[in-house]
Amino acid sequence: MKVHEIRELLNAKLYVGEGLLDKEIIGAYASDLMSDVLASNYLDEKAVLVSGLNNVQLIRTAEMLDLSVIVLVRGKTPHPEVVEMARENGIALMTTTLNMYNSCGILYAQGVKGFSNERAD
């Protein structure tokens, strides 16, 4: 699935990362706890990270894992320093008013499977 399809499905607002809209995504991971995200062996730049954590640690975590797409859920407006850090790291950041469960449900129903300790593909 392309990043722009994720944006459309979740009716999300893109804050930064226009250049990544055509990027292909093959899996997802969702958590508010960054060490849970960091525990997943196979997250990589083809994954979308879904989270409710609105602070710079969300971007730092994505940076460490080479993730390039983040969806912030529950209608949170990202803090300016979060947007700036996403920009510096070439990460696309979008927000949706949907909650975590519904966001994941919609993506899953469209074929975006979860990363765990095995590859999604």
Partner: protein, 141 residues
Amino acid sequence: MRELIKRYVFQVQANDFDNAGAASSTIKRNLKTIAINPSIVRKVAVASYEAEINIIIHSNGGEMVLEIYEDMISIKANDKGPGIQDVDLAMSEGFSTASNAARELGFGAGMGLPNIKKYSDNFKITSNEKGTRLTIDIMIE
């Protein structure tokens, strides 16, 4: 003896939430400039980040050292205490004493030390009230 190619030291302050992850970000950028497989760089970055956050949220401050060898990357995370009471317990998945401030940052799953161990080829931890010392070695294929 392995030949040390480069060594960098980063100071990490206790409770410095604003800069949490800055050292690991610099470590990652340094490693990206040398030709190392991105999956190796990622392992080092994740382990380093977890160790750095632990110094910030659990310790009185300390330092991170990055050592680059021809065939290995080594990260050392050394802090000034107060130490870990029961290291075996701390190493178990899900054990956490993280404060509310740390939880607000997105930490406190009790997965940091297990993650570090998982991503290391050689991992050592020693701890007493004077400090906790981690050695994280990751081989460059």
